[in-house]
Symmetry: D3
Subunit: 237 residues, 6 copies
């Protein structure tokens, strides 16, 4: 029934290659099927004004898409003079989600900036960005710990994200672009490795959904995130 | 336990005054406690390019806050040169939510723009904007139907929104600002009058939540939205 | 002869309601006929760089219109990326006019920001903004004096403004929108309560005017401002 | 008493050199004392949307200052990303004033853009811009008439402008920068060659003024503009 | 003598991998040492206004750097509101250079947009972008020719670029970042495969250069470009 | 053969008038044929952050064109919200070129800003700007030395620029606009008075060039710059 022939609860193949750029403190290329995202974590010399002197750390994120990561070329946001609404929403989500897995006291007063740049898009780019972004963050934090700059591990639990939706009337896991563009309801679930929910974002796009369906979608999300956390652990072992 | 002395499942008083500006096709001033929002619905002569010739209608929304609607004065977005990320997120949510209650074929090829301007803020402004925005939309559509420009009612069901969150470890309904600024988890539930879910947005802010808590929050939201739909019906009767 | 049936020298009804928002140090809703403006005065923690260390105070103003305050919806300035030329002109005028009634030494090194937001427009919005803005300023200064932060009253005299113009060949007072859009000459007179002139702005729009007409317009303005000052005093008594 | 030693009612020397750039349809360099402004009038192939098909012409203006036209270097507006409030006000004033001397029916459906660029500033740049701008406009219209593109002269009467103010308690004519920066009250009077008033803009800057003083200022302005109109006529004879 | 141990006239290893994104009509990942650039060529449905109806084609280019492609994180240009001067210069150079190898009549009235995004930077990114950009363009044109949309090959000759400079007093070929940041003179030479010069850009940065040195640099550039053209041919064979 | 009737190696008449604005520390009006540029050098009270505390000086430049300096009116960059790519390229070139003739230690920690504003354009504006900009810089530095603020002359050698190109198949010197708009290859050569090269920028615009032609162009440039340096010396003697 799904365009890709996958089962309703079947994820696309996931791969995470680390160390893809020599400059960043942490980096990876995450592939969820044909969705490819480069994630880097940069230790920044400056902290935002609102944490100065607080002793607390900060993790922030930015998101971008290469102009031809998509089926037809998009305008480059740098030439339009601003980031679009969708970009702003996504990067705020990535930052908020990653922070939910961080002990900001243990991190200490420093900022880590996570950049997620989509090289090729086929649905679920924000979920790939969060999942890969956590890997880059993990690697950067490892470096800080190895150097003795951070003593207690500030990463409480892995953070991963997966999309779910209702496609052709059926709850499905990990939508690709052909599904995403047709789904009447879709959304993103961000969970920690310990099963706690961090963020739920379900949106109707021309349809609505019932509480029962909400339950099924949560089941799918839990199963998907569990697989992603395995891949994160393998990549950062 | 709540700063306002309300019960965990108790809403703030709601009032909706219609016809507050003589120019708009539909308008209201909605008050949810000390959160006051002016909502107007404007019939626009032009439709966005992507629906031209489709015969389908469009509903869009914009959101703003008066600079001193808040405890300390905010910078006016018109002077900063752009709408902030929070504003963009909120107005996209309002538009998407209202469209989920609209039969775009019945509306016909026309655009209605809903403006939600916060006069005084005390938490839950986006929920008040959606709930009041629907009232303004209802009144503007009534005008179109009375004039014979629209035959079948394009409004399928009322759309209303309420915030819920976990405050001091307890799920609570309709957070005011003192609660909102302390809650470790909070979010917004947008439902139709027939009980169908349109949008769920739960975010951790320094805490996480379990599936059980998610269930309780959904219960609270359903009860809150039911009360708001009553107020919407009374205001537009 | 006037569309509203008013005499040539007759003002629209004026009302000033104070305390319309709980956050601002001073606030009012001023109505000059169908022109409704919310004015707030905010005590700002910071002063502009050019007065730092001078011991002098500063009063500044910003002006905005809700998108549907007018007959047809205007674009929201926050979405266009900048304030239009008309807005910039008006808010500079409001700030300059209010400062002309302030003893900046007595105010002390602090800034008060006056925001004037038009809820409904029917001509003369900048005059209503100045007149209502002064009321908000008065209330905020009263608060400072009550708290003992300011000892000598820094408000020398009330400041109020009224529009005049030549409509259908006749000098008229307090133009509403139907008159304003037809008048060949119109302008604004800002005066202090003691009768001194602060600002005169007369513009030809397709017509010109003689020195004699200028005299008549000044007579009208003096009579109009006197009535506004009475309303200001009543509201702040 | 005046820093320059001039009498209270004495203008600075005025010179107007025409034809200063080979490309523009009309151009001049106007000098009012040490204030030097290059004015060009350009016949534009396009008209603004709001006059399309109306048969009416349009005259618009833009104003700029070279960064080092002033005592200390100003930031170039092209690098700040927008024209400042003062610039916007001035160029709107120039355009409005010039249009008050134009018969838009006689001009026919075409646009003339007047650019006024300040090479050296010493007070009164906007008045020099209006006075020189009219000369450039006159020359461009002459060209149109010579070519037979315009039959009836669309320039009803010359338009010229002069500043007046109250300096050291005395009404003075044509303020230079040292006076302008000290004057408690100053403003601009734009008149037609036939003595009709087009625009009056008097502003208090830390002082106020009486009706009597307003009369004296009008007397000075009438005398000043009469001299400028002579210079305009000589330059375009 | 060179930090990398290379000979004065020795290039870094070059590799060009094609087909790196499934959406673009042509794409490659070019590596010149540690400088890695993704180049895509997109066939655009629209042409710029200035070629409409001319029958001539257009090739344009855009350039970007991932924020952490460099040693320390750069601000993302999309968040600063505009492309910096360096970016604008580079992308204009890429477009101009590629067009110098295109027969615009043979291409026909269509636009190809070449995007060059730097994944990892180590000096010479603009040269890598031109060289890789031509490969992406070649592949996209091949597709057009295979589909019969273009009959005569519009690509006259390959276009490739290499940097040269004077490092520690010696003319060197293909500078990497440690050399680039120290070189007193450096620049870029863009040539066609047939040896014709397209663009020469030599700049002093704290030093100057003689005509003799200019000759040696040209020799180096010719040898470097010959090697790059071989790599281009191998990649697109 | 040249539209102007000049020989292939003949420059246009050059004149340099100094002291054209009373405010700037150095200024001139340079005319290369019908290309007229006002250049000012301003001593700035502040230095850019990257030289603070270094003891080194900085020279920067900005470039602009009056809207009607060209055959048809251009949009004013201040109204478009940003400087175009061409402007940015040119002003970076001017600054870089002038700095190549400056001993930044001798200048001491101060910034000089050179503004080059084109009053009338007929090709070669950037070369006129560099040549005239150096004159303004020379005069400003003279002032610093006279005042004893700078002891050792920081200007190593004059800096001047000339354009060359291939017009109708022939290498020509100092292109005017009719040639510039037809030339298949053109560029700019910036040299010091001692004959050292500072910058070479040759670009193909629809044609290419050989190494032999490159040699001839360099010959022409050396002869042209020698004449300009004479004019610079005469003007600043």
């Amino acid at each position: 029934m799904r365009p890709s022939g996958r089962d309703l609860s079947e994820m696309r193949p996931v791969s995470i290659e680390t160390g893809v750029t020599k400059h960043a403190e942490g980096s990876c290329l995450i592939k969820m099927g044909d969705t490819h995202v480069i994630c880097t974590a940069s230790l920044e010399p400056r902290v935002p004004p609102f944490i100065k002197g607080s002793g607390l750390g900060w993790v922030t994120a930015e998101y971008g898409m290469l102009p031809r990561s998509t089926g037809s070329r998009m305008r480059r946001e740098a030439t339009t003079g601003k980031q679009g609404g969708r970009t702003v929403e996504i990067q705020r989500l990535i930052g908020r989600s990653l922070r939910a897995g961080v002990d900001r006291v243990a991190l200490g007063e420093r900022q880590i900036s996570v950049d997620c740049d989509v090289i090729q898009a086929d649905g679920g780019t924000r979920c790939a960005a969060i999942t890969g972004g956590w890997v880059a963050l993990r690697l950067a934090v490892n470096k800080l710990m190895k150097a003795g700059d951070v003593i207690t591990d500030p990463l409480i639990s892995p953070v991963a994200a997966v999309s779910c939706g209702i496609y052709a009337g059926q709850p499905v896991l990990d939508l690709d672009y052909p599904e995403d563009s047709e789904a009447g309801v879709d959304g993103n679930f961000i969970l920690r490795g310990d099963g706690q929910l961090i963020e739920v974002q379900m949106s109707a796009e021309g349809a609505t959904f019932s509480r029962d369906q909400m339950g099924t979608l949560l089941d799918l999300a839990e199963s998907g995130v569990a697989q992603l956390v395995e891949a994160q652990k393998a990549a950062t072992a």
